[in-house]
């Protein structure tokens, strides 16, 4: 029994159905972790991308090294690092927040590249035209650069969101009770891993396929010429 739901191990089918509500609770944790993690990645990635464009060499260079480092090392080890090292510095976060932070940190390295590519894709002539029209830097970004970036970056960011969703199960390693964490617990108690683990896979599959299909549709629907913010 878990969260007040009793499982029925008579047949694999009854077992699968009876643990569905429990996995549903885990699914909410999974989705929440992906949402919080992605929000962090979106903001942190933007900060990194802007710092990367800094005129001060020391800043742009160290940001470049940092993103490369984060991108090329495993999420699991980064997670362990945050989980065990942060408390040494007096920062004690709940496991869920540590996990979301690790996801956000890893994916900020990816999103910063997406932003950077988006900014670089706006042609030089556009910047020059904005200067010629005497537009301020803020105005140039708001009215010229960002509207043209959107069709490029939205699909790329969406694909990273799906990737992140698929990496959330790693959080179960640091005691977060997401779908996989709960499935493992059910497996331990019933000595049947086949059904709960298969169920997790079967829930993920349509979720990621549908998300990818949505991103594909959005990508096609976005006008290549850009979207005005106002």
């Amino acid at each position: 029994m878990m969260y007040g739901y009793v499982w029925d191990t008579t047949t694999p089918l009854t077992f699968a159905i009876s643990i569905l509500p429990i996995l549903g609770i885990g699914l909410m944790v999974t989705l929440k972790a992906a949402a919080v993690g992605f929000a962090i990645a979106l903001v942190l990635g933007l900060v990194l991308a802007l710092m990367r464009r800094s005129r001060i060499k020391a800043i742009s260079w160290s940001v470049a090294c940092f993103t490369e480092f984060v991108r090329d090392t495993p999420l699991l080890v980064q997670l362990f690092f945050l989980y065990y090292v942060l408390p040494d510095f007096g920062i004690v976060l709940p496991a869920f927040m540590t996990g979301a932070l690790a996801l956000g940190l890893q994916y900020s390295a990816y999103t910063s590249e997406v932003y950077r590519g988006g900014i670089d894709a706006v042609q030089r002539g556009q910047w020059e035209a904005a200067t010629a029209l005497n537009m301020s830097k803020l105005l140039t970004y708001r009215d010229v650069v960002i509207p043209q970036m959107i069709p490029r970056i939205v699909p790329a960011l969406g694909n990273y969101l799906v990737s992140m969703l698929k990496e959330t199960p790693v959080l179960s390693v640091v005691t977060v009770l997401d779908m996989l964490g709960l499935a493992n617990m059910i497996g331990e108690r019933t000595f049947d891993y086949l059904v709960p683990l298969s169920m997790v896979g079967l829930i993920f599959l349509p979720m990621t396929l549908i998300c990818s299909a949505i991103i594909h549709t959005v990508e096609k629907a976005l006008p290549k010429s850009g979207i005005p913010l106002r």
């Binding site: 495993p74 999420l75 699991l76 362990f80 090292v85 790693v170 086949l194 683990l197 993920f204 990621t208």
Partner: protein, 221 residues
């Protein structure tokens, strides 16, 4: 214990990490070509099987796949040792992502090349291997490089099925010494160095391939 004493166990773990990564990349590459070519085959059954394989492994989390092969599969009488399980699972995942790369690069070969091959009466198989593939393989190299690094990062998860890889050794050391900051910093650096090496090797292969025949596309890019 000082950081120098951590080196020996971590290096031993790194060796396991590299072995698992290289083995699963090699098998994954074969799977990628097989499934990628099958995906564009005119044989519906073949392309259907490849589609299902790619969708299944791309659409589910690696950790779930890994636990499924490690904990669930033995329950229906199929079991391997942890290392084999780790290599097979990683190879299947890398192969599924690689299949999309192979398919994409083959589809991107200009239609004009296929028409020229047809006009010279080449068979379809001959066209695939001697006309399309040599042109497509160069376009596959950069995404393959990303997949190789992704594979290396993913190997960290095999520590969770009791394989003594770099991450596993780091965990054991931490449990003994509680010196988290040093151990995990060293571990992250270890992965970073292996990743840089992997990227260097793939870049080298790509340059070799590009230098061979003079490619118009490489001349412009």
């Amino acid at each position: 214990m000082t950081w120098t004493q951590y080196l020996a166990p971590l290096l031993k773990g790194a060796q396991v990490t590299v072995t698992i990564s290289l083995a699963s990349i090699a098998i994954g590459a074969i799977l990628a070509f097989a499934a990628g070519i099958a995906r564009i085959s005119s044989n519906r059954i073949l392309s259907g099987i490849a589609f299902a394989y790619v969708a299944l492994f791309r659409g589910t989390p690696l950790l779930v796949q890994l636990f499924w092969f490690y904990y669930a599969l033995p329950l229906i009488g199929i079991s391997f040792d942890p290392v084999t399980t780790g290599i097979v699972t990683l190879a299947l995942l890398t192969g599924a992502f690689g299949a999309e790369v192979v398919r994409g690069a083959l589809v991107a070969v200009p239609l004009a090349q296929h028409e020229a091959a047809r006009a010279l009466n080449f068979s379809r198989t001959y066209t695939l291997w001697h006309i399309s593939m040599p042109q497509a393989i160069i376009e596959m190299m950069p995404p393959f490089g990303n997949l190789a690094v992704q594979n290396l990062k993913d190997t960290a998860l095999v520590s969770l099925i009791s394989i003594a890889d770099l991450t596993f050794q780091a965990q054991s050391l931490r449990n003994i010494t509680l010196d988290s900051a040093t151990i995990y910093t060293m571990t992250l650096l270890g992965y970073f160095i292996i990743a840089l090496f992997l990227m260097f090797v793939l870049r080298f292969v790509e340059m070799k391939l590009r230098r061979g025949p003079a490619f118009p596309r490489s001349a412009h890019s």
